[in-house]
Subunit: 412 residues, 2 copies
């Protein structure tokens, strides 16, 4: 049979999202479902129940990743999968991650309604601890799946109360038997809200995600000299804060040189001794730079190292720039990106290429399997916030694209 006319049920998808949002609901419309908490267990239980009601076989691996499988005609083929995460930030929204999981469930429900078969099996996945809010780092279970982290490393991650990820997996009954990473995947798609303002600003419902930005993170320390704010003439100062302020301006200028795709952010700042009438002797701050291409990212790295050193010298201060983490730019699999673009075109939805500014489970899994993503707009680009909001119509369109991208590959 042809699947051309199969569509998801946008109302059912919305109702499922709203029902899931009651688990860990917060007063301002958001959700608090930290990974492996009692709320996360409830959310997982509900998801598993829904998947079984939809006829899926559910397996859980030893990182707590959940795989719900709708068989295909040839079950020797690796499944065409989709997934995201049900855990949230402490004051998260109703859509970040959850949409990608429940859109996958809706694809299965819609295929069931249509009585449609696929050649390869279809799977929907819930990845454990994507957010990293309770157990750092983020995307740890998809990272183990993709061979980026060792199992023992992931299990040993502790929350602020000293409970380990492995312990908590056992406590909520989600430490499964399958070894994480041994689950075959033919391809992985992930539908997600954009978490940025680009699609909304363009009035376009579908973002065809070509890849993810490369990132570099730094810890910068500027050392000057604590001095009395009243008695130290301006030319005698070694003011670590004024030097840091100049670096902040220089950093933005560097991002502007590589416009429009470069971004650069100072998010954390600590001023020492932080006393009203003392010239700061030390300032520590974070730097986050991102670009979708390796060469401009490297040029930004060079420019900030040189620029900060020059400012520090002019200000009579010293600067130490420590690169603490980096991630190379990702380009998603061409076949998956094409499948998303073709699905959007076939459905007649306006769409545009977009680069993910954030990290996602698909950005881990793409190291070992073909992967792609679908973005839908969210209000004002706001995410990681109770105010996170998305339009039912956009969510439905994204889910239809997901269905047709998946079935396109599953029947290809």
């Amino acid at each position: 049979m042809t699947l051309t006319n199969v569509r998801v049920d946008g109302d059912r998808l919305w109702r499922s999202l709203m029902e899931m949002a009651q688990i860990g609901a917060l007063p301002n419309g958001g959700c608090g479902r930290l990974a492996l908490s009692d709320e996360d267990k409830q959310a997982r239980d509900l998801f598993v129940r829904w998947c079984r009601e939809a006829g899926c076989e559910v397996t859980v691996d030893d990182m707590g990743n959940i795989f719900a499988r709708r068989p295909g005609r040839d079950n020797s083929l690796p499944p065409i999968a989709t997934g995201s995460h049900l855990d949230t930030q402490p004051h998260g929204g109703k859509f970040d991650g959850v949409y990608g999981v429940l859109a996958g469930l809706e694809v299965i429900r819609a295929l069931n309604d249509a009585g449609a078969e696929t050649r390869a099996p279809i799977e929907v996945i819930n990845w454990t601890n994507e957010e990293g809010s309770r157990f750092a780092p983020a995307m740890v279970a998809s990272g183990v799946f993709a061979g980026q982290f060792e199992h023992e490393f992931a299990w040993s991650r502790e929350d602020a109360a000293g409970h380990s990820l492995g312990e908590e997996l056992g406590r909520i009954g989600y430490r499964g038997g399958q070894r994480c990473g041994e689950h075959p995947l033919g391809a992985l798609f992930e539908a997600h809200i954009e978490q940025g303002p680009i699609l909304e600003g363009a009035g376009v419902p579908i973002g065809v995600v070509s890849g993810a930005q490369g990132q570099r993170w730094y810890d910068v320390t500027v050392r000057g000299q604590d001095c009395h704010a009243g008695t130290t003439p301006m030319p005698r100062r070694k003011d670590a804060y004024t030097a840091s302020a100049r670096m902040a301006i220089a950093l933005r200028d560097i991002a502007r040189v590589h416009a429009p795709q470069a971004v650069a952010t100072i998010g954390q700042v600590e001023v020492i001794p932080n006393s009203r009438n003392t010239i700061p002797g030390e300032v520590r701050f974070s730097v986050d730079i991102r670009h979708p291409q390796p060469a401009p990212l490297a040029a930004m790295d060079d420019a900030l190292r040189g620029g900060f050193a020059a400012i520090a010298a002019e200000e009579g201060t010293e600067v130490e720039i420590e690169g603490i983490w980096h991630k190379s730019p990702i380009r998603f699999d061409e076949g998956c990106v094409d499948a998303v673009a073709r699905a959007a075109e076939a459905l007649g939805y306006a769409n545009q290429a977009i680069v993910s500014g954030a990290g996602h489970d698909a950005c881990q899994v793409c190291a070992i399997a073909p992967a792609g993503m679908i973005f839908v707009p969210c209000a004002d680009g706001v995410s990681h916030n109770e105010a996170e909001s998305a339009e039912p119509d956009d969510l439905e369109k994204g889910c239809n694209v997901l269905l047709h991208a998946m079935t396109g590959l599953a029947n290809g």
Copy 2:
């Protein structure tokens, strides 16, 4: 008799400073003697014992200010006084305040050694809680003395543990019977380390302090919008930190317009939410501006208000500028300033006019009595720090100037 040839004993002064520094001594050479602590009580007890041994009558007022009196020939005249404070910062030095108290004691000892009489009585004063580290605000007891604060306000000041200043005065036995402010003063001198680098830089041992800078303190809040550091394009940002960084640069430019006497400092900065991958939605920072003359200080106030507002608008942010405290520039009494200058000249010491960048007890008392100050150099301008250091020879010279300035007025 003429006092022309009377000199202080610099070694004795130094030994007294070093003995006092053992009370609350810290590992790196400094002192921790918070106001009205057990250490402050020990320091007061030692000071009172030394004063009585020097033949002084000691009285204590109801703010704990200690007055040690060496009678003159005409005890109906108000005393010519000197004083400073024995309390220190939590990690303070051996000289800030202490020098001014013990230099006064050395003046009395030197007059005793010389068998010298003065017409008016001579007094040395220890003011309570100059630092303001334990009980804010600073200079509170000299402020009550000068009618700047109410008694009840001062007594009700609480430390971090909830103990009040009044309670602690009673606990250490220094809540005296005399009502603070009812003690007559003919004039007040205060000898102090400069706490800045000017005298040391000029190689001049004596600063003839003409007055104190005016100060304005502000709390500034810049409001933008929290956004994801990876997904928000640069032109869409309302980055409260970048806006604040531009204000820091603008503030320094404003001080440079009013060089060389203007100073401007941002000492405290709080970035919200202070997360590595979130663009700061709010930044709060302090501003401290100072100038010895009212007109440039007012011009700086205007310039920062206008400049910050313009930057905030350009950055798509909002700024709120709250003036939380100000102090007009002070000019010390001409007679006292002249007495200091004449004493330095008569002693053959290099000297120069200087404006105090910091507040001192004399800056309060000058509201109700003629007052003046003598500065001596300190190493690298460092103060409020265990590393605070001063040369015995400079301290001796400052003390000789104090003796001759005081006796000049006491016999005038």
